[in-house]
């Protein structure tokens, strides 16, 4: 054969990342303790190197379809892969110092992190049930282990165990749904086959079985994005896991769940929106409301952000649930979800980076221990305020635009149900502002503890992470066009 069997250019990001992950494992064996600090640099280099073919693929601007349409590199895949690589790069910056000081198994830590990122790259391109399932497993199994990386800490053990057990059960339910759908459709695995079956056949009874399988499949992904009522693992896991891993879970792993939802809902089940739309409508409303109401009561900053990230996932779900007049899915609703995810990723990573920096001093993430932070760490207090304002959707931050785009896409669709969605989202934004601003008040207006008021030293890599995230949050406020264009570029409809 003259031509290559596989389009290596399309697979290059995945291949590079696999290579670097395995390289780290081997390299770690041969270096002494004094050279271990180079590991995060190799990992970060791997992520940047995987980004290069992403750029060249983006410039070539053609949709590449491999394995008979089971693996597709299109605008959606490229934008999402970009978000994943960017987020993981920042998580690496956040981990470098943390992992070194904690004296964890460093080589294995970075290997597992890169494996999870690899899973995220695969899930962005997966266009059939088998690839989707394997990819979500590749995202999950390293993160189950990373959540328990602080071995001697009971909370970390609890975090890993809860995440693992509930994750396995929910993905098993998804898999059961997939197997039923496989049987009902007569062996369809690719999303295009499933979609054409669904728009053609639906003669009452076979559709009844398919409808059940759609709901079952959605369960596993609702778990991954921590949508209520599949959120019970999230607060405990976020609290117990090492902080950089928490940041990774709340951003990258959650986005991976959304990627699964996007491709399933928009590519495999678009013809059956009357089945999944009520489900997602209920999920969106419950997720926003329950997440925010419980967040108010939290005294632990990480638990508060855990509930806040549950609520934020609810906002991303809102455009899915919006019913358009034509009854079909529009590029506008799709783009507003992706834009929200992108901006949420940036601001939430920023908030976690500041928490890691401050926790190096306070050794606690209780909100009370943050009182008077502005007295001895004014820079960190201001940046934390900036990220919290963004999460609340208050200018001058990108978070404002994220909320506006979602609002606009729902309201422009019109109708009573959409109006109700927008109203619930509005009320929730007000509730959310309350608890975000309570932390700001604590940092600026409450007295600082008596003992040591020296400035907090921030390691360079962590400072870089905070700086990059703050910069992007501000730039996207000034020119939101970039985020919107990425959102539309990713659109699957």
């Amino acid at each position: 054969m003259g031509t290559a069997v596989f389009d290596l250019h399309a697979l290059a990001p995945e291949l590079i990342l696999t290579g670097v992950a395995i390289l780290i494992l081997v390299y770690d064996l041969f270096i002494g303790d004094e050279r271990k600090w180079t590991l995060p640099i190799v990992a970060a280099g791997g992520i940047l190197a995987a980004g290069i073919p992403l750029v060249t693929l983006g410039l070539s601007d053609t949709t590449r379809s491999l394995f008979g349409g089971a693996y597709v590199v299109d605008g959606f895949a490229l934008v999402l892969k970009g978000i994943f690589l960017g987020a993981s790069f920042v998580v690496l910056l956040m981990s470098a110092q943390y992992v070194e000081e904690g004296d964890y198994h460093r080589g294995e830590f970075y290997f597992l992190l890169l494996s999870a990122v690899l899973g995220m790259l695969v899930i962005s391109s997966a266009r059939d049930m088998i690839s989707l399932f394997v990819a979500i497993e590749l995202v999950s199994s390293p993160t189950y282990l990373l959540a328990g990386w602080r071995k001697r800490d009971l909370k970390s053990n609890e975090a890993a165990l809860k995440y693992f057990l509930l994750g396995v059960v929910s993905i098993a339910i998804s898999l059961y749904g997939m197997s039923i759908l496989f049987g009902v459709t007569g062996g369809a695995l690719k999303f295009t086959e499933i979609a054409s079956w669904m728009s053609a056949v639906p003669s009452g009874s076979a559709m009844g079985v398919a409808a059940m399988s759609i709901v079952l499949i959605l369960v596993g992904f609702a778990f991954k994005i921590a949508a209520v009522p599949f959120h019970l693992w999230a607060p405990d896991t976020y609290e117990g896991a090492p902080l950089p891993v928490t940041a990774f879970l709340s951003v990258a792993s959650k986005t991976a769940g959304f990627v699964g939802l996007f491709t399933l809902v928009y590519l495999a089940f678009p013809a059956q929106s009357q089945v999944w739309r009520p489900v997602i409508f209920g999920l969106a409303i419950a997720t926003m409301t329950v997440g925010n109401l419980i967040a108010i009561k939290q005294t632990n900053l990480v638990r508060m952000l855990a509930y806040s990230s549950i609520a934020q996932a609810g906002y991303v779900l809102v455009p899915f649930a919006a019913t358009t007049r034509e009854g079909s899915l529009t590029a506008e609703t799709f783009a507003s979800s992706v834009t929200y995810l992108l901006i949420y990723t940036v601001m939430n990573l920023g908030a976690f980076a500041v928490i890691i920096a401050v926790a190096r001093r306070t050794r606690s993430v209780e909100i009370t221990s943050w009182s008077g932070l502005s007295k001895y760490a004014p820079g960190l207090a201001v940046l934390m305020t900036f990220f919290l304002l963004s999460l609340a959707g208050i200018p001058p931050t990108a978070g404002m635009w994220a909320k506006i785009f979602v609002f606009r896409s729902v309201i422009s669709a019109g109708g009573l149900a959409n109006g109700a969605l927008a109203a619930v989202m509005g009320i929730n934004s007000v509730i959310a502002a309350f608890y975000y601003l309570a932390v700001v008040k604590k940092m600026f207006f409450d007295p600082a503890p008596e003992e040591d008021l020296e400035a907090i030293p921030v390691p360079a890599s962590l400072a870089g992470a905070i700086g990059i995230m703050a910069g992007i949050t501000f730039v996207l406020f000034v020119i939101p066009d970039v985020a919107v264009r990425l959102g539309y570029g990713a659109s699957l409809v």
Partner: protein, 171 residues
């Protein structure tokens, strides 16, 4: 029904009964070693289903890997970690058991209802008769059409292995 179909249904019934019995015993057995042995029963009966589906190769792999390797590793794991073998009453939670039972029965009820009502109208999948090329087709399918998820699975296993080692290692 032809005679052949009757035999198939009977064998399916036996295998399914063994799988369900084994599955229930895995979660109800008080002793974890016994639970592992009931798992052998479930996995072996599953291999029987593969034979019924004309997939002898997968049936053989199921026996070799799951019964032969996975359960043995499981038993080694129980032995080597010095986890308490036997009853662990302080880990039992009576009220959780009731809620678990309720949730399980509701799930079973919904799924049974939907399948019972609707599955008759679902067209049966045609099975092609096995020929000498079945394994070749399987290999082609795994390593050409589905090579991306196949390789991704190897990364799942590698990361699980490495992570488990790091977790279990004394330091």
């Amino acid at each position: 029904m032809s005679n052949q179909q009757v035999v198939q249904v009977i064998i399916f019934g036996i295998a399914a009964a063994l799988i369900i019995f084994g599955g229930i015993r895995v979660v109800t057995a008080q002793n974890i070693v016994r639970a592992a042995l009931y798992l052998v029963l479930t996995l072996a009966a599953t291999a029987g289903l593969f034979v019924l589906l004309l997939a002898e190769f997968i049936a053989a792999v199921q026996i070799l890997i799951y019964v032969g390797a996975v359960v043995v590793i499981l038993l080694f794991g129980i032995m080597l970690t010095r986890a308490p073998i036997g009853l662990t009453p302080d880990l039992d939670n009576e009220s959780a058991r009731i809620w678990g039972l309720v949730a399980g029965l509701v799930f079973l009820g919904v799924v049974t209802f939907v399948l019972w009502r609707h599955f008759a109208s679902v067209p049966a999948l045609e099975l092609s008769a096995p020929d000498s090329g079945a394994n070749e087709a399987l290999g082609r399918s795994l390593l050409v059409d589905w090579v991306a998820p196949f390789e991704a699975v190897s990364m799942v296993l590698l990361s699980a292995l490495i992570g488990a080692l790091a977790m279990a290692r004394k330091d």
